[in-house]
């Protein structure tokens, strides 16, 4: 038993877990066979069984049943379900369209029904069900209330509200101005820009995967992997001092994790050239600055010329520019994460004089 727990603890360490999730995500997205009722049922049962069995572990139970973590568990199930449900429908529609039939929704589009009672009634029932769920939830589980607020005694760990834990998890890899300000703004801007960048006229109003594979892959990668998965990590796997703890590990505030991180400039000047860091910040950070500039300025045209030629042509320069910057920003997160895990890289550009660290 302990071995299995250790294995799970080991697998859930950020680097491994994240890699597994990415691989699983891309493999699963393209595997038609997964999106069927049977697989869905099996997966649901498996996850439920996993939770039930894990409940016997005190450490697991303690974290999962913390009052404010209950909604997150619920959310994980709901999002898992709906992800499966939407993709199932998408693949079914794809199959239909492959057969030359219209998507399932199309069959029902042209026929109209009376709002009263069809819609209003279903709405009413939905409200009733929601009310019942909410009331039961409220009766059974007390809303969390801890000790009175104190500005001097910080709980360890101090966590943001759960829906922002993705951002807090990002803080491990990026400075707050990026993780807390720039990236959230980009997420909002990106979402708002979505209808203007995505010029694919297909897939409007029905579930489909094949017709919008790239859009869906990108969006789901952002939503499921970079947002929901990060929230899960931040909630369940981050303990005192924001150290990583496996699901069956005791949250020991004394746990020590070496943070032997090193800046890009140190790699270059200290390790590689052996000359020591230059005094002047521009000279010191010039390589990092060049790398970042190249990533955002040189990479897009390069991509446009080589691999994304068709997209570039279809979208036009303006859409392409906005879209690619947004996508590169999104990808920057996993890139930085891997750089950290593999090279212990702290900052690509580190100018603490101006609070400017990337």
């Amino acid at each position: 038993m302990q071995f299995v727990k250790d294995l799970f603890n080991f697998l859930s360490s950020p680097a491994i877990f994240f890699t597994l999730v990415i691989v699983l995500f891309f493999v699963a997205l393209r595997t038609r066979r997964l999106w069927t009722d049977r697989v869905g049922t099996v997966a649901l049962v498996a996850v439920v069984v996993y939770f039930v069995v894990s409940f016997f572990d005190p450490n697991f139970k303690k974290v999962v049943t913390a009052p404010d973590n209950v909604p997150i568990v619920g959310m994980l199930f709901l999002i898992g379900f709906f992800a499966w449900f939407s993709l199932k429908q998408a693949y079914e529609n794809d199959d239909r369209m492959a057969r030359g039939e219209p998507p399932a929704e199309k069959l029902e589009t042209d026929e109209k029904v009376w709002c009263w009672p069809d819609l209003v009634y279903t709405e009413l029932i939905a409200l009733l069900v929601a009310s019942i769920v909410l009331l039961v939830w409220a009766i059974l589980i007390e809303a969390p209330l801890e000790e009175p607020a104190s500005i001097t005694v910080a709980p360890n760990p101090s966590k943001a509200p759960w829906y922002f834990l993705g951002l807090q998890e990002m803080l491990v890899y990026f400075d707050p101005w990026l993780a807390g300000v720039v990236f959230p703004s980009l997420i909002i801007l990106g979402l708002m820009a979505l209808p203007y960048i995505d010029t694919n006229p297909k897939g409007n109003g029905y579930y489909t995967f094949r017709e919008r594979a790239r859009e869906i892959a990108l969006f789901l990668f952002g939503f499921l992997v970079l947002w929901v998965f990060m929230i899960m990590t931040g909630t369940f796997l981050r303990g005192p001092n924001w150290n990583f703890f496996g699901p069956y590990e005791y949250w020991d505030p004394h746990k020590l994790v070496p943070l032997n991180n090193i800046n890009f400039s140190e790699f270059i000047w200290v390790r590689w050239l052996g000359t020591g860091l230059p005094q002047q910040w521009l000279a010191r950070e010039i390589f990092g600055i060049l790398v970042v500039l190249a990533y955002f300025l040189a990479l897009p045209p390069l991509l446009a010329r080589r691999w994304l030629n068709d997209i570039h042509r279809k979208m036009g320069a303006a859409r392409y520019a906005v879209g690619i910057v947004l996508i590169l920003s999104m990808i920057a997160l996993p890139i930085k994460m891997y750089l950290r895990w593999i090279f212990n890289l702290k900052y690509i550009i580190a100018i603490p004089e101006f609070f400017f660290n990337i």
Binding site: H254, L256, L259, P352
Partner: protein
């Protein structure tokens, strides 16, 4: 537009009468519209700015996080000064180079350590963590060095210690110019 359509020869003087004044006044009307919308924009901007300004009160009811710690020449070189420890939880240490302010909070579990002048170390009475004069940990369970507070020179030449800004050694923040007061 419509007047043009309806224009009939008999009404010519009328049209001329109607056409000439607008020619003068249209420009002036345009000017009035420009002035109007311009000032309305300005008024809105003032309003928005005033609302923003409203969010910054002239006085604050927060206890000051900083305190004045006397004049530099009141401190002896090489000494750990304990006069502010009880009230503010801060040691002020003067080296040959200058001053730094160490927070008297053990990095292990938050107890206040004591300065043992004879042994030249800070010793935490709770679990025995020991720190050098600089604040670097060398014994006991403390995982990291003591934290430094911002220190600078105030207007009147006194030392100003601001506890709201902390500098952590392990993050390399002791290099920060505000973590150390040069003399």
């Amino acid at each position: 537009m419509s007047s043009e359509k309806e224009a009939v020869p008999g009404k010519v003087p009328e049209k001329a009468k109607g056409a000439t004044p607008p020619k003068v006044s249209r420009r002036s009307f345009l000017n009035w519209i420009a002035i109007g919308w311009g000032s309305l924009t300005a008024a809105t901007l003032v309003g928005v700015a005033a609302t923003l300004r409203f969010m910054f009160p002239n006085v604050l009811f927060e206890p000051p996080s900083s305190f004045k710690a006397g004049f530099p020449d009141e401190y002896a070189v090489g000494e750990v000064d304990e006069r502010w420890k009880e009230k503010f939880g801060v040691w002020i240490v003067r080296t040959t180079e200058g001053f730094f302010a160490l927070l008297a909070v053990c990095t292990h579990l938050g107890c206040p350590p004591n300065w043992l002048a004879a042994e030249a170390k800070y010793k935490c009475p709770c679990h025995g963590s020991g720190f050098y004069r600089t604040g670097i940990n060398f014994e006991g369970p403390a995982p990291r060095p003591l934290e430094r507070a911002r220190i600078m020179l105030a207007d009147d030449g006194q030392i100003l210690v601001d506890k709201s800004r902390k500098f952590l050694w392990e993050k390399g923040e002791w290099e920060d110019p505000e973590s150390f007061l040069k003399v």
